[in-house]
């Protein structure tokens, strides 16, 4: 029984742990499918987190205020990034890193100035939806999730449909694979790229907002703790495919949610080995994913990281 309870509790904790990774990776995929190499996730997560808490404290302590605020704030910063790399054609790696540092400083400063630090909010509550709530009480820990967890599958399905089953998605991917060809076909490369970056940023902002509003329910400077970088790695692992990113995020969530539970259950295993496992598994899965068939290179969008300049020969 104890072991059943352990598994139910553990599995119940997985979605909340995996969700920020999944949404952030999805946001990065949207941007990178359009050919814009995006390293801004860590910064945008912070922006989303701060905006979510800030809106809760300044406007109303409601998730439907906080999460849109997180999305909008991240979109604004995403627009800045898009302006840098698409319009001004700054090197995408450097611009991405610069945006992260900028966001780290900015959020920390704003959080201090506005005194948003150390004020708990009630945030996103757990809910259990109808057919699942009828299951035996022992399983409730499994299905009692934040509202956003239930929205995760529709979001992934929606993004997948748009990217791979719609004309917009086809054009977006064309811009990412061969911007010159897309340009000759009359597609607005700049427009598609800016929109893709901003839309992707919205998803990353939502992930950041969730970390704060659904997770910590409080603002701490630098609270994302490197989770954005893991999302960047997840994108490569997922070979720029949404469902694989979701799988990767869940895998990561499983392990991360397991780590404290092993200790809490009093199982003695070497401390630092356990803290290392999420990263170890990431490397292992990347190696596995990269073997054979030319590895990840085949799936990488053809023009990833390359700014498009009309009339310029390459």
């Amino acid at each position: 029984m104890a072991i059943c309870e352990f598994i139910v509790n553990w599995a119940g904790g997985v979605p909340a742990t995996a969700l920020p990774y999944a949404l952030a990776a999805l946001g990065l995929i949207v941007s990178e499918r359009a050919g814009v190499l995006n390293l801004t996730a860590e910064g945008l997560l912070l922006v989303g987190a701060l905006a979510g808490i800030g809106a809760s404290l300044a406007i109303a302590d409601r998730p439907w205020v906080a999460l849109p605020a997180a999305v909008l704030a991240a979109m604004a910063v995403g627009l800045l990034f898009a302006g840098l790399v698409v319009l001004l054609r700054v090197n995408q790696v450097i611009a991405g890193l610069a945006v992260v540092f900028f966001c780290q400083g900015l959020t920390s400063l704003l959080g201090t100035l506005a005194e948003w630090q150390n004020h708990p909010i009630s945030g996103l509550g757990k809910l259990i939806v109808w057919p699942l709530s009828e299951l035996p009480a022992g399983t409730h820990a499994l299905f009692q999730q934040d509202g956003l967890v239930y929205a995760l599958l529709p979001i992934f399905y929606g993004v997948h449909r748009v990217l791979f089953k719609s004309m917009t998605g086809l054009r977006l991917r064309a811009v990412g694979e061969a911007p010159e060809a897309a340009d000759s076909a009359g597609l607005g490369v700049t427009r598609y790229r800016v929109l893709a970056v901003v839309a992707g940023s919205a998803l990353i902002g939502l992930a950041g907002g969730y970390l704060a509003v659904g997770g910590t329910k409080m603002w701490f400077g630098g609270m994302t703790g490197g989770r954005g970088w893991i999302a960047v790695a997840l994108v490569i692992f997922a070979r720029w495919r949404p469902w694989r990113a979701l799988f990767g995020a869940l895998l990561f969530g499983c392990i991360e949610s397991m780590v404290p539970r092993i200790a809490a259950a009093g199982i003695s295993v070497p401390q630092y080995f356990i803290l290392m496992t999420p990263y170890l598994v990431t490397i292992a899965v990347m190696v596995w994913a990269g073997r054979g068939k030319g590895g990840a290179d085949l799936d990488e969008p053809g023009a990833l990281g390359r700014p498009h300049v009309r009339e310029e020969r390459r």
């Binding site: 630090q117 200790a263 809490a264």
Partner: protein
């Protein structure tokens, strides 16, 4: 016999002479009045460690009758610490108080470069003729918190959210469990290390995992109030660290281990100001009696008899009771402190063993 007596006398005389001349030659004396300034590691309202210094600053200003400036968010790297400190020194400040372990090396270097300036550093590891690190004996206040936790736990299962497994953290864990066992001899303490001082996401996961295991009082030694907040959400109790955590979780917080820096720093600054100050060779390590650390006790949930018991034990600590006194064995049965002995400070700092009842990863 006679010559031995004479030699004894001579030695005593020499020691006395040496003492007085040494005091004149070796004790540190500031030129002019002390002008104190703080370097804060984080924001002054970080809710924990840094805020405890900010709160002591007012009391120190009053006692020393001077305005004490501070620089916030000085991260733990030399390129940021050096200019911040040097700017203050150039403006005439001659007592610089740092607040981070990571300032240790830079403060050592600055102390050599500015021999006329006093450097004090909380949680530091370096010392010198004009440099002294200081830290509170947190195991005393956490021991008292453990007593409260032991008294309030229905299941006898306590949990602890900790940052890193090393001496400073391990001694609070051991003392917490020893305090709990004083009240409930069967109490156990399950520890989750998050591997970070400030990762609220991991702290939340750790606290939830502990509560899911049937643990009903959570202790902590991390830099955020996250464990208290989760405890309150889940309807269990918690004890805080750094500051009185009732600010964040009034229902869940039973008591907190708090910093009372002014109680240590005011007399220390007065000593420095009087001249002939000799810094402790291995840093100052004040107990509840000397300031540094104390317990903020207790929330309304704790019954009067339990509070009285804790306060009586606090008085015993003030009167010199030692927590890590022998005979004391670790959880594997190995004797760590022989009967009649007390664990030395050096062994405290490298504590890597746990008392019976503590459940941790290896």
């Amino acid at each position: 016999m006679g010559s031995r007596w004479l030699r004894g006398c001579l030695a005593a005389g020499l020691v006395l002479m040496g003492f007085s001349s040494q005091a004149l030659a070796d004790g540190f004396t500031l030129e002019g009045k002390p002008k104190v300034a703080f370097l804060y590691f984080d924001a002054k309202n970080d809710g924990g460690w840094t805020q405890s210094f900010e709160e002591s600053r007012g009391a120190i200003e009053k006692a020393m009758d001077e305005k004490i400036p501070y620089v916030e968010k000085v991260p733990e790297n030399a390129a940021q610490i050096r200019p911040a400190a040097e700017k203050l020194i150039a403006r005439g400040y001659n007592v610089i108080i740092g607040t981070a372990f990571g300032y240790s090396d830079t403060f050592k270097e600055l102390a050599g470069k500015y021999p006329k300036v006093v450097f004090l550093n909380a949680a530091g590891t370096t010392n010198g003729p004009n440099l002294q690190s200081f830290y509170g004996r947190t195991y005393q206040s956490q021991y008292l918190c453990g007593m409260v936790a032991g008294a309030m736990s229905k299941s006898g299962k306590l949990g602890f959210v900790a940052a890193h497994p090393f001496g400073v953290v391990n001694w609070t864990i051991n003392a917490y469990e020893m305090g709990a066992r004083l009240v409930n001899p069967n109490a156990t303490l399950t520890v989750v290390y998050t591997g970070a001082w400030n990762d609220p996401v991991k702290e939340r996961a750790a606290t939830e995992a502990l509560i899911d295991q049937g643990i009903d009082v959570i202790g902590q030694h991390v830099d955020t109030p996250m464990p208290q907040i989760v405890a309150q959400e889940r309807g269990v109790y918690a004890t805080g660290h750094h500051r009185d955590m009732r600010e964040f979780a009034p229902k869940a917080t039973l008591c907190s281990s708090v910093w009372v820096w002014s109680k240590f720093l005011v007399p220390e600054l007065k000593t420095i100001s009087a001249g002939n100050w000799t810094p402790e060779p291995f840093g100052a390590f004040p107990s509840i009696k000397e300031g540094g650390t104390d317990i903020a006790c207790c929330g309304p949930a704790v019954p009067k008899p339990a509070v009285d018991k804790v306060m009586a034990e606090r008085q015993a600590l003030l009167d010199g009771k030692q927590i890590f006194a022998g005979p004391l064995s670790d959880r594997d049965g190995k004797e760590r402190v022989p009967a009649g002995k007390v664990l030395a400070d050096g062994d405290l700092w490298k504590m890597d063993w746990f008392v019976p009842g503590v459940i941790t990863q290896r």
